[in-house]
């Protein structure tokens, strides 16, 4: 329940009531420190398997997403035609976290020599792409903001997150935890960091025209 409440809070459209942008645009940058990096889901014990499981890649769980909890009016215009890719490779979704705007279509190619079956039962978007082989791809267009947990029906340890935003003011951290949100209209915003289902408390950040606001986060 905690997770659901957090999701609705983060993506709720109360942001529409925010004051319109003032003069100029700026940026927000900073770093997300993970005091403890989440561990990747393990395979189930596989007692009924006749042999050892094949090797697999481990997902990168250090990537966080930083976003404006409330965004300026006019920032919610529908985004048409954006595209992103979440690959399935060595029994791992790559990338493990995708942050997109609504209206984006995500391709799910299968780069393994065996079947995968991507699906999600998230309230934000339910889908099941069925089983398809190497070299094939299926896609899903995301039209509602929220968090979508993605799984493979065949390989239960495969999972990923897609964060769908109704505005463009979000950024994925790099390997060192750094982020930068560009083109933010001047104003004061609540900024939140997210990592593997954990949210930071909102931080109030003031952005001035042409300026770069600094905000660091610490999670877990």
């Amino acid at each position: 329940m905690l997770v659901l409440l957090s999701v609705s809070f983060v993506f709720a459209p109360q942001a529409l009531t925010q004051a319109p942008p003032r003069h100029g645009i700026g940026a927000i940058r900073g770093r997300v420190e993970l005091r403890r990096v989440a561990t990747a889901a393990e395979r189930r014990p596989g007692v009924a398997e006749l042999g050892s499981p094949r090797g697999r890649d481990l997902p990168d769980l250090r990537r966080s997403v930083v976003y404006l909890e409330s965004a300026p009016r006019g920032a919610f215009e529908p985004n048409e035609g954006g595209r992103a890719v979440m690959d399935q490779r060595n029994e791992t979704f790559a990338p493990h976290v995708l942050a997109i705007s609504i209206g984006t279509t995500v391709d799910f190619p299968n780069s393994d020599m065996f079947y995968h079956n991507v699906f999600s039962l998230s309230k934000t978007q339910r889908f099941d792409l069925g089983r398809y082989a190497a070299g094939h791809s299926r896609s899903v267009r995301f039209d509602r903001p929220g968090i979508v947990r993605v799984f493979c029906e065949i390989h239960s340890h495969m999972n990923a997150f897609i964060l769908v935003f109704s505005h463009p003011f979000f950024a994925l951290t790099d390997a060192e935890g750094r982020y930068r949100i560009e083109n933010v209209p001047a104003g004061t915003y609540n900024v939140v960091a997210w990592n593997e289902g954990t949210w930071s408390d909102p931080k109030s950040v003031g952005v001035t025209g042409g300026g770069i606001a600094e905000q660091d986060f610490s999670l877990r």
Partner: protein, 405 residues
């Protein structure tokens, strides 16, 4: 096990799971930096009464009225050795070891494994996916569940005695061997694993497995009860993604030493064998999955006196199963099963009949995912038995809630 012990078990799971999690675990519990993983399968099934004993897995358990809790664990003890085990309880009875073996990978770069202990079944396809999560329906294929009238620890004196017992495999007694009433065996047991040594090797396209074990496919054992071992082998081909073609064979002494001695004297128990052959095909693509499995099992039983058994006593099972996903989290499934038996001749009054009553089952159902690892299944099955003393026809409904992590 009492109810409070079950509650303590669930509470224990909750305490192991990270404190931040607000829901039941959805992934295996990992300890010691991932070297130890613990998974679980819980299924609660409630269905119609089954006076015809079509779905009984032994004298007291029906597959349609069963609370089953499996806890499995793997301990990775380095690149070469993994310890695997599973305990299971049914209807809150004692937790019993179901699997306990060591998996040795002699060469880390080569896909060859040696399993020693109570190992996964070599024979057939369904035997390794008996978990509720792997079974799209609630019932089991007849070959793996339906109790024939043969027992390894008690044998009939003649064909007439065997024909008298047709359809009573859930609880049967014979003249020789163990005099107590007990259940017969299915063609292949889905409820116990055999003990021995197993070697598995393969590539993405071809996989081969061979094993030497104590029991037989119908009667897996922890300790051997006769003087012979079973040899089993399986070859699996995966020529294209989604297609699996498998062939299996197994042969081993079936009748226990005590029963064989009681029927025909010492030194013959190795002669009374079960030989089984199986073929299976699975094809999946998009939203559908189709499976076929055929099994032929021959038993050689002691011949004590006329009217003699016509050997081998053969049983042939055919099973076709399909699953189609209708919507995300919602699927429909169906299975058609038939179990046939070779003919033997009893008394003049009995004439020539299949040695057990042939059975047909059609099961239709589906499942809906409440969440990824919490599924509600519903099914209806129509069972028909051609002969015997029990109910010849039954329509049974059942619901099952399953949870896994």
């Amino acid at each position: 096990m009492t109810v409070w012990r079950a509650a303590a078990f669930v509470a224990c799971l909750g305490s192991v799971w990270p404190a931040g999690a607000q829901t039941l675990p959805s992934e295996p519990i990992a300890l010691a930096g991932g070297r130890v993983t613990i998974g679980g399968d819980v299924s609660a099934t409630y269905g119609s009464p089954d006076p015809g004993y079509f779905d009984y897995t032994d004298y007291s358990h029906s597959a349609l009225r069963l609370l089953r809790i499996d806890v499995s664990a793997a301990l990775n003890a380095g690149e070469h050795v993994t310890l695997l085990g599973e305990v299971r309880t049914e209807n809150l009875g004692k937790f019993r070891p179901y699997a306990a073996y060591v998996r040795i990978r002699p060469w880390t770069k080569r896909n060859i494994d040696v399993n020693v202990g109570r190992v996964p079944p070599t024979f057939g396809a369904f035997a390794r996916r008996t978990y509720a999560n792997d079974n799209p329906l609630i019932g089991y294929p007849l070959a793996y569940q339906y109790l024939t009238t043969l027992r390894p620890d008690a044998v009939p004196g003649d064909a007439a005695e065997l024909l008298q017992k047709r359809s009573t495999g859930w609880l049967v007694r014979y003249r020789y061997g163990n005099p107590a009433l007990d259940g017969g065996v299915p063609l292949v047991s889905a409820f116990r694993w055999d003990t021995g040594v197993q070697v598995h090797a393969g590539t993405e396209a071809v996989r081969a497995t061979a094993a030497v074990t104590a029991g037989t496919v119908a009667n897996p054992l922890f300790r051997d009860d006769n003087s012979g071992r079973q040899i089993a082998a399986r070859l699996e081909l995966r020529p294209v993604a989604g297609l699996i073609v498998g062939g299996s064979g197994a042969r081993g002494p079936f009748v226990g030493e005590t029963a064989a001695r009681g029927a025909v004297g010492d030194g013959h128990d190795r002669e009374f064998t079960q030989t089984a052959w199986g073929g299976d095909v699975e094809y999946s693509r998009g939203y559908y999955l189709l499976r076929y499995e055929g099994i032929v099992s021959d038993w050689r039983m002691p011949i004590v006196r006329p009217p003699e058994l016509t050997l081998p006593l053969r049983a042939v099972s055919t099973s076709v199963e399909g699953r189609y996903k209708i919507l995300p989290g919602l699927y429909a499934a169906a299975r058609v099963d038939h179990l046939a038996f070779s003919h033997i001749t009893g008394t003049d009054a009995q004439g020539t009949l299949p040695w057990d009553a042939p059975v047909t089952r059609i099961e239709i159902g589906g499942g809906i995912s409440v969440q990824r690892n919490l599924v509600l299944k519903l099914s209806v099955q129509r069972n028909t038995r051609n002969g015997g003393r029990l109910e010849p026809r039954e329509t049974l409904g059942a619901a099952q809630l399953l949870f896994w992590f």
